[in-house]
Subunit: 334 residues, 2 copies
DNA sequence: ATGCGATACGGCAATCATGCCGTAATGGTT
DNA sequence: AACCATTACGGCATGATTGCCGTATCGCAT
């Protein structure tokens, strides 16, 4: 390993490893796309061939493609250290690959956001979030509650506080990925809603160019109007803009329906192949996708009250920790 | 004009036009770099040659390089319409090229930020900003005040309000540009300050990937601690991360001194060629540059009081509208 | 006016990226 | 068991980009 195209090789090696198990150039290519690297399948094969010769990868079978050799694994260990971390895009990637939820078995782990509120405030908070869930402005209709002393993700709930876990919208990408649809996360943004319908994007921040989650920033900057939106149908909510391969659009529509049946609604809009979606142009051969922010219920809390602590892209957590919001609410009131 | 390299040609044509007057591939290349396009000088010449043949550009003299022909100009008019605006990077670019301030004559226009406050609040605001200017945490030590009914940039000051104009840090890039040093604006960020010295960047948002000015967002999200920093020397201020050609670093140092003499300090740190600056790696052959946020004085106001309206990258404005802050302050108190 | 240093240019060739296409496995169907 | 559809592979060729290098101008100092 010496010159500049090494960067590509490393990226391909990494992608291949993340897929776990053998894969061909096409799949690797999609995976790379998701982290912002645009290479043609032929180009991927070109480098794979070189790496075969260097002993970093090896063919498994003509049909299945290649896998990473032990040596390639070692090379990765060695190189990864240099990686400039910190940007949200890589955090999304990492969480995406760690979640395991499967729509068919309805079990596994999902990606979560976390909010911390004083425990005395729990009932109020639930009432505040109720219209948001009722209007389906968040990612799904589920919520997890962790009491003081319990742990949720990487956090132990402090005394006198309650943790609210919401489903992060990265979960939507993860579910699609489990169905073989690679999703590229592009922007976090604010979507203006009129009469319950999304009308336009009013702000955008690219995931690959920020170290702060855009949604989190929008909420802190008080730029959302989720409460209004939940009450009147007009407001501004946080969303995420993504892309899927154009050919996968029909399947995305199918999966969207199934997700909704499982209380995991969140896909707000699906664009047409190569067509801009809400004025955002997409890459060649892809279609846009708008997903609601998993933090929207928390945004509603922040709009109404000061001192709500939260952060998004928190951790992966077993889906069993989550209950249907309305059931939970009835339970708390009962 | 037909295929895909058209995009390059257009970009080169545009760069050449923005330089106004004839230029060679090297200068064009730097200009392109500033808008995120990385082409080697040879490549630029390659396309220039094609455009010569198409009649879009023409050589002026062997020494001076080429210029845009009338036909090329027409082509630009025609094509520019498609440009997808909205991202901060292009707004920065546009303001950069519209400002005209010249360090030697100390006249011309500079890029401004604008804040609106109730006029009854003016004296308080001036006192709040005083320590910020005293510690040189902003961009320069100048301020403009516009009373109700007056106009400042594109804004007419509403009744009962006062407008405060601060020098936007894009001005620093503009000044360097006038000296032939092309500056690439990369990130807006938050810089932690300890004992008056910058220690680390705690957040970054790339200009090319956001439709909101990062600094503006940080202030609204209450993530700055400019007041603390002004009073104790420890805090968090807004900054901008840029890059200049490595070879220009010494001249930047010289210009920095001259800027300070003219009450336009703002350059916080200059990196070494090809070396990361505060852990941010730079492009090959470039050096990093940290410039303080022109909005920092305004941030101090926002930290102390609610209801300050402001926005950055406002407009270009004649430098004569600005006075030295301390003189202004004495005048108001006297 | 003569020479020096800087800058610009474009021919030529090497390198990189990728389109085209024929071939090889593999799983599933009939 | 024969066949089909799918997926992967790599040789070959083309187009895009860029490095190398010799040459042409121009401004300025001597």
């Amino acid at each position: 390993m010496k010159d500049k195209n090494t960067a590509y090789k490393i990226a391909i090696l990494k992608a291949l490893k993340e897929i776990r198990g053998p894969a061909g150039a096409a799949r690797i290519r999609e995976r790379l796309l998701a982290s912002g690297l645009k290479l043609q399948p032929r180009t991927v094969r070109f480098y794979l061939l070189q790496m075969d010769r260097e002993g970093l990868t090896q063919p498994v079978s003509r049909r299945a493609g290649r896998q990473v050799t032990e040596q390639g694994d070692g090379e990765l260990q060695h190189t990864n250290i240099i990686e400039k971390v910190g940007f949200v895009a890589s955090r999304i990637d990492s969480l995406l690959y760690r979640m395991s939820y499967d729509l068919r078995t309805t079990t596994g782990t999902i990606v979560t956001n976390l909010a911390l509120i004083p425990k005395s405030f729990l009932m109020r908070a639930v009432e505040d979030m109720n219209p948001v869930f009722a209007r389906r402005l968040g990612m799904g209709t589920r919520l997890a509650i962790a009491r003081e002393g319990e742990t949720f993700g990487a956090t132990t709930v402090p005394a006198e506080m309650v943790a609210l876990g919401t489903v992060c919208n990265v979960t939507a990408s993860g579910i699609l990925l489990k169905h073989g649809i690679p999703v590229t996360s592009r922007f976090g943004g604010l979507m203006e809603i009129e009469e319950g319908k999304p009308v336009r994007l009013t702000a955008l921040i690219e995931y690959s160019g920020t170290t702060l989650d855009p949604l989190e920033v929008f909420i802190r900057a008080r730029m959302t109007r989720v409460r209004d939106c939940a009450r009147t149908g007009n407001g501004v909510i946080g969303v995420s803009f993504r892309e899927v391969p154009a050919a996968a659009a029909p399947e995305v529509r199918r999966i969207k329906k199934e997700m909704e049946r499982q209380g995991l609604d969140g896909i707000l809009a699906i664009g047409h192949p190569n067509q801009p979606l809400f004025d955002i142009p997409v890459e060649e051969g892809r279609a846009g996708l708008i997903v609601s922010g998993g933090l929207n219920p928390v945004a509603a809390l922040c709009e109404a009250h000061a001192g709500v602590r939260f952060h998004s892209l928190h951790e992966v957590e077993d889906v069993a920790r989550f209950s249907d919001f309305h059931v939970l609410r009835d339970g708390l009131r009962g």
